[in-house]
């Protein structure tokens, strides 16, 4: 690292913030783009599993709430890709890389949704896992990203409530409805435990060194378990991990080792729904390329 880069890193570690036009080391910029782009990709891909249930929502209220939730996610993608674009990578290039598999999106969005139970469990637990990471990003050294995280976190707060409302209604309903929730938890638990990534000590994580991330992966997972396992158990529902327990002395949750191979396999585009969803995106993107040409290129 050059002297200027070292000085920059010290500045960040002292709490310094960076704006779009500031000088920044190539490595910092590259890491930012990759990280933020993956976030944008995830918001955009996360829409697809939920989209089908908008059409099948069983009440007008649920239909409106789910449409609004998904709308928020598209809105988040817009905010996020704008930040990436200002860092030097155009939106169209991000979308090209997403569709071709060059760039990635979070594991949870590579899996199928099978029932209305999934709708509740995703909005409640998957969004909860995501919000924990997102709250930590409020302290990102790159200020434009930290600022959009405020709006994102604010909007996500309704998503969890909506999810919880759906789940509680099901849990208070028929045995079959309760069954939908339990079955969904059983299927989503594995991906949820993988969501925050392999434990890497904060001291060894370059993303923390550059103050892009401020929370270690394992801390995020512990926060998730601490917040949400009690909420699951209090409804009389179970978590499909016999080893899951909290050590009351240390406050640490113990659990079965997540399948890190599965995580790697899935995020590299081999999940059950990865290709189908990317193909779906590609199809509409290609089909409507003329619209972007007609509307977004300079005025006739």
């Amino acid at each position: 690292m050059t002297a200027r880069e070292t000085e920059f890193k010290d500045y960040l570690q002292g709490g310094g913030q960076v704006e779009t036009g500031d000088w920044m080391p190539d490595e910092y910029r590259a890491r930012l783009v990759k990280f933020i782009e993956m976030h944008g990709n995830s918001e955009l891909m996360g829409v697809l599993p939920e989209r089908e249930w908008i059409l099948r929502a069983p009440t007008l209220q649920r239909k409106l709430a789910l449409t609004a939730k998904v709308q928020d996610e598209v809105g988040h993608a817009q905010l996020i890709y704008r930040v990436v674009e200002d860092l030097g990578k155009p939106r169209e290039q991000c979308l090209d890389d997403l569709i071709s598999g060059v760039s990635k999106f979070h594991n949870v969005f590579h899996y199928p949704t099978k029932t209305w139970g999934d709708v509740g469990v995703i909005a409640w637990l998957v969004d909860a896992a995501a919000i924990i990471s997102q709250k930590a990003l409020l302290k990102c050294s790159y200020a434009p990203y930290a600022r959009i995280m405020k709006k994102i976190c604010w909007e996500e707060s309704f998503h969890i409530l909506h999810g919880r409302d759906v789940v509680l209604t099901l849990v208070n309903g028929t045995d079959e409805q309760r069954g939908l929730v339990q079955e969904a938890i059983n299927r989503w638990w594995g991906p949820l435990m993988q969501f925050h990534g392999n434990p890497i000590a904060a001291e060894s994580d370059p993303m923390v060194e550059w103050r892009i991330k401020s929370q270690a992966n394992e801390d995020a997972r512990q926060q998730f378990l601490d917040g949400y396992v009690p909420q699951i158990w209090e409804l009389g529902l179970s978590v499909p991990d016999p080893a899951l327990r909290k050590d009351e002395e240390t406050g640490v949750w113990h659990y079965s080792e997540p399948d890190w191979d599965e995580l790697k396999h899935v995020v590299t585009g081999h999940g059950p729904k990865s290709q189908e969803r990317l193909d779906f995106r590609r199809r509409f993107r290609d089909q409507e390329a003329w619209v972007r040409q007609a509307v977004l290129t300079e005025a006739a």
């Binding site: 036009g21 709308q71 809105g75 817009q78 905010l79 200002d86 600022r147 959009i148 977004l296």
Partner: protein, 95 residues
């Protein structure tokens, strides 16, 4: 085109930069800004400006001792002590 969006959260507050959107012209920009920053009635008002119309200034030279027009340019402790001694008075807190 990129439009910058400024929003006022409540009447009386300053407009703050909220983000930016891509739109081909003012009509589209208004529609999109309204939805991105106001669909929950979370903004009192929005300002929209084409990014090309914004001018940015970063650089404010302070080379030659301009503390004369700042509060930190005025240290009155010593002079006040001398004036009180001359007048035989004490600091207000002592009486």
């Amino acid at each position: 085109m990129i439009y910058e969006v400024f929003r006022q959260e409540r009447k009386g507050q300053a407009f703050q930069h909220a983000g930016s959107i891509t739109a081909p012209n003012d009509a589209f920009a208004e529609a999109y800004a309204r939805e991105q920053y106001g669909r929950r009635q979370e903004s009192e008002a929005l300002w929209l400006v084409a990014r090309t119309a914004l001018r940015e200034i970063h650089d404010f030279p302070d080379e030659l001792q301009k503390s004369y027009h700042r509060v930190d340019g005025y240290s009155l402790k010593a002079k006040l002590k001398e004036a009180r001694e001359r007048a035989g008075t004490t600091a207000p807190a002592d009486r």
